[in-house]
Symmetry: C2
């Protein structure tokens, strides 16, 4: 049976991926040298498509990493001497905090109630903090930080580096990248690609901080340090043999999204999002986990299921509709529904209708 | 024009890859959760196929990393407090040494003449050395360390961890894994897969060393530390969202190789290797870069080209035959011909005949 994945990543592939894989194989993309001109043209095309889709400003650069998890580790190694501050509102924002703790940093977690956010615009962040981290969309709970709040955080702390997790919200979230110093995402979420590639967007201030740490012997120097990633990036290359296929595919998908129009993608996300939360609010067995409307994710809808989620998930799976389960302590209690660009309005309507028709 | 890649990685895809990709897409492999039972079964199947193909002994474990380059960095971070010793006979063995230097280790490089090897069986390695590294096949020069020598190195230094680079020689090289503590390879060489996955095989002694370093605060703790990789590996999972497609494909290709028979693969490599070196010795414009026969790689043949390699490479490319160029300082002077399991005897004969017929 053909399955449709509404899981919040890995998820359903973007609907043009299969054709692009077929073209890539015909062209020998997986066989070319990652030091060849042919490869350089591929990476450059992907960078340019991303710059257009995400409106990446001057002074920002793109590094291709193996995962968002790697970006947590490398940014802590290369941008922080001592102090970090983390807005934590679920498992993924907490993992960034834990990455800092593992590396012996003085890391502060500001914990929000799960399914909500603390107000990032009124937070008092200690002097000397070198890196502030926050997840625009917390994939584990479906809590979404309103875009406008990020600008206020930036204005409150203009001199501290800010790292924004856009793993499961880009390009749906219309983030103004000028308000952060680094931003990252994984390709197996909204971009609908096979997993195994993380994209790190960082600015010159990150590079300056890394240089300062290097000068004072506080820089953890590896092949994928931000400075080495940048050095190779200037040549449209990577510091090691990368996931060439995925860098190629990301360029193609991103160009497809540019051609479709990012506004169209964002409008469709809003429409589908209304369907999801309407279901959660009206269905007697479901309730939205995120109570405050302004915090409800537009890309990952999370619902509490009365008497447990397993039966519903199994019955949907029998019909080929795969939704995500609750994350961590919410396993068996929640369902999570991805609302990614590849999910059509028709598919989302079908999912909602099916849930409404099911007994569970 | 359909091209055939004889480049030493990325290279021609294994001849069954395209079919496996097609099956994977039909089955939704790229969309399943990396925490699902379905994924666990995939990783376990890949591990079991590798254990069979490479004859991996009890007490050795498999970690899935993003590249061999990552394995250099992680092994230096997790297995070494102070002292390393590196047999260097080309760019790739040197990169391991440089990874240790970058991390501030007291690293010793024992440099061989390029295109040759120093005798690893008579080396005097300083007391207190924690990790000895060597490249069984140095991809940049085509220098190959005879398998038997590794056993003698092991016997000379039974208590020091030995790391063997099998990046471009496994499974063609019949390595007895008992003679090393860790071994690693990249999938875009002999395994004929798209790039973006490194395989780290390590034993319990590596884990014990990592635990010792952790206990004394000398362990660099990240998501892909050997201890975290191992913790997730016990559940047939990875510490972050991995390259699921490639882990699936590696299992399928490895099983194909098991079914074909590793002895058959090794015998074919020997036959094709004779063709390559015979060409290099008899052709008036070519000469084998590795002079000593016992050091000649069975997987990457490297030749010096009289008056430069560019014309030959271009004329071959016009016919759809892509060979590798010289690495680093040998660019424009050498050609490198990969002799990987996917390259058939007929393809290799065609390449040799074509070179013999060309004017350059």
């Amino acid at each position: 049976m053909k399955r449709i994945f509404f899981t919040p990543g890995p998820s359903e592939l973007y609907f043009t991926v299969e054709q692009h894989i077929s073209n890539a194989l015909k062209q020998g993309v997986a066989s070319i040298s990652h030091r060849s001109k042919e490869y350089v043209a591929i990476q450059q095309a992907t960078e340019e498509a991303l710059k257009e889709l995400l409106n990446i400003p001057e002074g920002y650069h793109i590094g291709f990493m193996s995962s968002a998890t790697e970006i947590w580790a490398r940014s802590i190694e290369n941008l922080v001497s001592t102090k970090t501050y983390h807005f934590v509102n679920g498992s993924f924002s907490e993992k960034y905090y834990k990455a800092a703790i593992a590396q012996g940093k003085e890391a502060i977690a500001q914990n929000a109630e799960l399914g909500s956010n603390n107000d990032i615009t009124t937070a008092i962040i200690p002097e000397g903090t070198e890196l502030i981290t926050l997840a625009q969309n917390e994939t584990s709970t479906g809590a979404w930080i309103p875009i406008e709040a990020i600008e206020k955080l930036r204005n409150n702390y203009p001199d501290t580096l800010i790292a924004l997790d856009g793993v499961s919200s880009l390009p749906t979230a219309a983030v103004d990248i000028n308000n952060v110093d680094m931003l990252y995402f994984s390709v197996q979420k909204c971009f609908g690609l096979p997993s195994g590639l993380g994209v790190w967007i960082y600015n010159d201030r990150c590079l300056e901080k890394a240089e300062q740490l290097k000068a004072t012997g506080k820089f953890h120097d590896t092949y994928n340090s931000i400075l080495n990633v940048h050095k190779f990036g200037l040549k449209h290359q990577t510091s090691c043999t990368p996931n060439v296929m995925n860098i190629y595919l990301l360029g193609k998908i991103t160009q497809d999204m540019v051609n479709k129009g990012v506004d169209q993608i964002r409008n469709e996300a809003k429409y589908k999002s209304v369907l999801i939360y309407d279901l959660f609010e009206k269905h007697e067995k479901l309730s939205p986990f995120v109570k405050e409307k302004q915090y409800r994710s537009q890309t990952v809808g999370v619902a509490e299921v009365e008497n447990g989620a397993t039966e519903l998930m199994n019955k949907l799976a029998e019909k080929g509709l795969i939704v995500g389960g609750g994350y961590s302590q919410f396993k068996g209690q929640h369902i999570r529904i991805a609302n990614f660009p590849t999910h059509s309005k028709e598919q989302m309507e079908m999912l909602v209708d099916t849930i409404n028709d099911l007994e569970f």
